[in-house]
């Protein structure tokens, strides 16, 4: 026995040290996108009554922290960029392993796409799967969604993909932070929409695969007693996009799913509230979030919410405000900064140069902002620049953002 003791000790010790180093290394080199988005969700999955799912249209729209603040609804946004309906199905299926929501709201923009995975976008689901603990459902999802063995391996053991990040590690990799937006992704930008050139024609039925997976999602929700709502969030170029031709009502009534089409609603001013061709900016997103809050409350879809950890939510909301502050310096231009004017957590003091007449999107934004209590506009500026934007917390305190802009015609 003694002669075996030494080799066994050495082998076990080596394996233990190897496992220890790897357990520290794997999360270090991992792309933090998934951590940033899902850390808060997996820390307290029992906290959520509503899940917002689907593609980037939902990811950029449902500001769940504000839903809690303004409507008392505890929700998390688990939507991801370019997510096809099969991916959404597996995202929901895996999320339900961890939480027990009462309502699931899905954006159905990607139902126009019949593919499981959009070509060239095979890496995007990493933003969901990386943070997902290994489980039977995760393995099933990876096997169903990806053809190549190598890609599947990369999803189940993402170190095989990320180990080459050793040369790009930053402070954020050593001290990662979650995004604080309750899964949503803010779009602090502005996009000038051209007027629609045609009308929605509704020529054809929804593609087979998304319809099949919507059916699966419906069955999954029915099985667990979850209310399923499908929506089409507003976006600038819907009338020129493939979704304009799909007869959604027909499919959703066949599947027995409640459907809300917001593409032509007047909830947003699409000319001022778009961040880009396909997504709402922060002002637009906040308006739609408010609509969701009212809709879910009015329809009593979350009738008796479980007692929540108030202190945790308050703490998270404080963190959310801090994260929002950090977004302003990232805006590319003045219109980008002004795209958050309806944020009640901040006071915007805007000083326009004497004689300066705003045009285009800026004019629209400022016009809309006149009805906001948190925006002060003065036209007495003496400086050379056209607009001085100063932002301070509504709860009191100094300006945390101060920047002046000289607006060339191209930035309007």
């Amino acid at each position: 026995m003694k002669k075996y003791l030494y080799p066994i000790t050495e082998t076990l010790l080596t394996l233990m040290i190897f496992a220890l180093i790897m357990s520290a290394l794997i999360p270090l080199v991992e792309n933090k996108q998934s951590y940033t988005k899902y850390k808060a969700f997996y820390d307290t999955p029992e906290e959520y009554d509503v899940l917002f799912c689907g593609d980037s249209h939902m990811m950029n729209t449902a500001y769940t922290m504000e839903l809690w603040k303004n409507h008392g609804i505890r929700a998390y946004n688990i939507a991801n960029s370019a997510e096809s309906m099969p991916v959404t199905y597996y995202v929901i299926k895996n999320a339900l392993d961890h939480c027990d929501p009462k309502v699931i709201v899905i954006d159905t923009f990607f139902t126009y796409n019949n593919r499981i995975m959009t070509a060239g976008k095979e890496m995007l689901p990493h933003q969901y799967f990386d943070m997902l603990p290994l489980s039977k459902n995760k393995i099933e999802a990876v096997n169903c969604l990806f053809d190549s063995r190598e890609t599947r391996f990369g999803y189940l053991f993402d170190f095989s993909l990320y180990h080459s990040r050793w040369n790009e590690l930053e402070r954020g990799d050593f001290f990662p932070e979650y995004n604080g937006f309750g899964g949503a992704e803010p779009l602090l930008a502005s996009y000038t929409v051209k007027p629609p050139s045609g009308k929605m024609s509704k020529k054809h039925d929804m593609a087979k695969r998304p319809e099949e997976y919507l059916g699966k999602i419906k069955s999954l929700c029915d099985e667990k007693g979850i209310k399923l709502i499908c929506v089409m969030n507003p976006y600038a170029m819907w009338f020129e996009n493939k979704t304009g031709n799909v007869d959604f009502e027909k499919t959703f009534s066949k599947l027995g799913i409640e459907f809300i089409d917001l593409r032509e609603s007047d909830l947003v001013d699409i000319y001022a509230d778009s961040g880009d061709v396909a997504h709402l900016n922060m002002t637009g997103a906040r308006k739609i979030t408010d609509f969701y809050g009212k809709y879910l409350t009015e329809h009593s879809y979350v009738p008796d919410p479980a007692p929540c950890d108030e202190a945790l939510w308050n703490k998270n909301y404080e963190y959310y405000i801090e994260k929002k502050k950090a977004v302003f310096p990232m805006a590319a231009d003045c219109a980008g900064v002004l795209s958050d004017l309806n944020d009640p957590d901040f006071i915007f003091d805007l000083t326009l140069r004497k004689g300066y007449v705003p045009e285009g999107t800026i004019a629209l934004m400022l016009d809309n902002a006149r009805s906001f209590d948190n925006v002060n506009i003065s036209a007495e500026g003496e400086a050379d620049d056209d607009i001085l934007v100063r932002i301070r917390p509504a709860s009191g305190g100094d300006y945390f953002f101060e920047k002046s802009y000289r607006l060339s015609p191209s930035s309007l």
Partner: protein
């Protein structure tokens, strides 16, 4: 199933575990099963070729041993060798021969008479064919007895660690070890593991990293100027060394864990101070095969100096052809032959010059100059080895001779070929480390022996750290364009 694949990381421990759990007398059968499985994991029909090669050598050798005292030995030898080499010639050289004939017709202004067949080269065929052929010749010469047990002999041909990329083992060394199956020896297995780890570092960390740069430059050599081509040419000789020696080292380590010692295939070739020394240290199993089975039968150095030089040239040219069925490989082999002949002539001429006072102080600088010259000559020859065709090789050399874009070395241009600054610096550090290890090896210092003598916790820490190092810095996984071991093409 390549050594740097997940399949192998599952396959190998399973083989080892079962190997030491089953009774000794059937272990060779288990290894044979594992080896055939390993080989057929590429393509199941390859198994037939392996079986043909095995059966030819096995029955050929049996016939030879029976015909020992009759005059038919030579005839049996020739028939056996012809049969043994037939698949290799068909699969590897048919396309090359027909293409060359077509080219002659085209040069003569006529139409190419042959359509080129689409023949897939079975992996490792050059290696196991040469190993089996060596066995036939050994039996003919009477240096070994013909093996009676077909399955044991089949294992000698198919032993999976060295099956697809060598070393090309000698009958005396390997076959005899397959007879006795030793008990599990922890020290030996640990040594094998250290060898495997070092092999993986050479292959996955160094060779595959260099491949990113070299592939980028050689894919469109005209796009890149001389500096890129010089760097690529220098790096390629290190790439191919680390690729091939890395594989051989993993093979040696894997065999050692199974209690079997394979021959050394490389002996620090980067430190050579002449091309002939380079070839004594490089792919030793093949070089010695050619020496024993071709160079010496051709007359070696026994038939006068001129014939000796001619024999060397012939051997190196054929060695080039062994590496690949293309004129670029022939050129590579021939160039090495020419360099060695010139070295022979130069050294005999220099040998007649008497030593002058103080010449012993010049030993080191002369050694360095010789080393540098050897590197340059070897790198030049490798341009033909790596280039897609002869035209491309000459264009690369022309471009190198006209090099003017030296500023690319300092303005960051060199980092645009797949390796960023950090990767490049890391690569240079790894190359320095490789040279250091080679230097130690050359002095007879084995780092793994030193490591084995360290206290257990330190040993465990360093072993685990080496495995992590390979996983972290190795080129593998989804982002890795899985580069096959270069020598699989041969």
């Amino acid at each position: 199933m390549v050594f740097n694949s997940l399949s192998f990381l599952i396959f190998f421990p399973t083989v080892v575990l079962v190997y030491y759990l089953i009774p000794c007398r059937v272990r060779y059968l288990w290894l044979l099963f594992a080896s055939w499985f390993f080989y057929m994991s590429w393509n199941i029909s390859y198994g037939l070729l392996l079986l043909f090669s095995t059966a030819t050598a096995y029955f050929g050798a049996l016939l030879l041993s029976r015909a020992k005292n009759s005059g038919s030995g030579k005839r049996i030898l020739i028939i056996s060798l012809l049969a043994e080499f037939c698949p290799l010639v068909f699969f590897k050289y048919t396309g090359f021969i027909l293409d060359s004939i077509n080219h002659v017709f085209e040069v003569a202004g006529s139409y190419a008479p042959f359509a080129l067949p689409d023949i897939l080269l079975p992996i490792g065929i050059s290696f196991y064919t040469f190993q089996a052929a060596g066995y036939i010749i050994d039996v003919y010469r009477g240096t070994v007895e013909a093996e009676r047990n077909f399955f044991r002999f089949a294992l000698f041909v198919a032993f999976f660690p060295q099956l697809v990329a060598g070393p090309i083992e000698r009958t005396k060394n390997l076959l005899s070890q397959l007879d006795c199956t030793a008990r599990f020896d922890f020290e030996k297995a640990r040594d094998g593991l250290y060898l495997m780890l070092w092999g993986y570092i050479m292959k996955v960390v160094i060779a595959d990293r260099i491949a990113i740069f070299v592939n980028c430059v050689y894919e469109s050599p005209l796009k890149y100027g001389g500096v890129y081509l010089i760097t690529a040419a220098m790096l390629f000789s290190i790439q191919i060394y680390c690729d091939f020696a890395g594989y051989s080292t993993i093979a040696k380590g894997a065999a050692k864990i199974l209690g079997i010692n394979l021959m050394d295939n490389f002996n620090s070739p980067t430190l050579s101070i002449s091309v002939s020394e380079y070839w004594r240290r490089w792919h030793i199993s093949l070089t010695s095969w050619f020496r024993d089975y071709l160079y010496i039968p051709l007359g070696g150095n026994r038939k006068g100096p001129k014939r000796k030089l001619l024999n060397k040239f012939v051997v190196f040219t054929i060695s080039g052809l062994w590496h690949g069925a293309d004129w670029t490989y022939v050129m590579w082999g021939s160039l090495n032959g020419i360099f060695i002949i010139l070295e022979d002539i130069a050294s005999s001429a220099l040998g007649r010059i008497p030593a002058f006072p103080g010449s012993k102080h010049l030993k080191l600088p002369i050694k360095l100059i010789k080393w540098l010259l050897t590197c340059i000559l070897v790198d030049i020859a490798y341009i033909f080895f790596r280039a897609v065709n002869m035209g491309s090789a000459f264009l690369i050399i022309e471009s190198i001779l006209k090099t003017s874009n030296w500023k690319e070395l300092t303005n960051g241009g060199i980092f645009s070929c797949g390796l960023d600054v950090k990767n490049f610096v890391f690569l240079l550090i790894m190359i320095a480390m490789l040279m250091l290890v080679d230097l130690f090896n050359n002095k007879g210092i084995r780092l793994r022996t030193l490591l084995a003598g360290k206290p257990l916790p330190l040993r465990s820490l360093l072993t685990a750290a080496a495995a992590v190092f390979i996983l972290l810095f190795g080129i593998w996984g989804s982002t890795y364009d899985a580069a096959e071991f270069i020598y699989f093409q041969f």
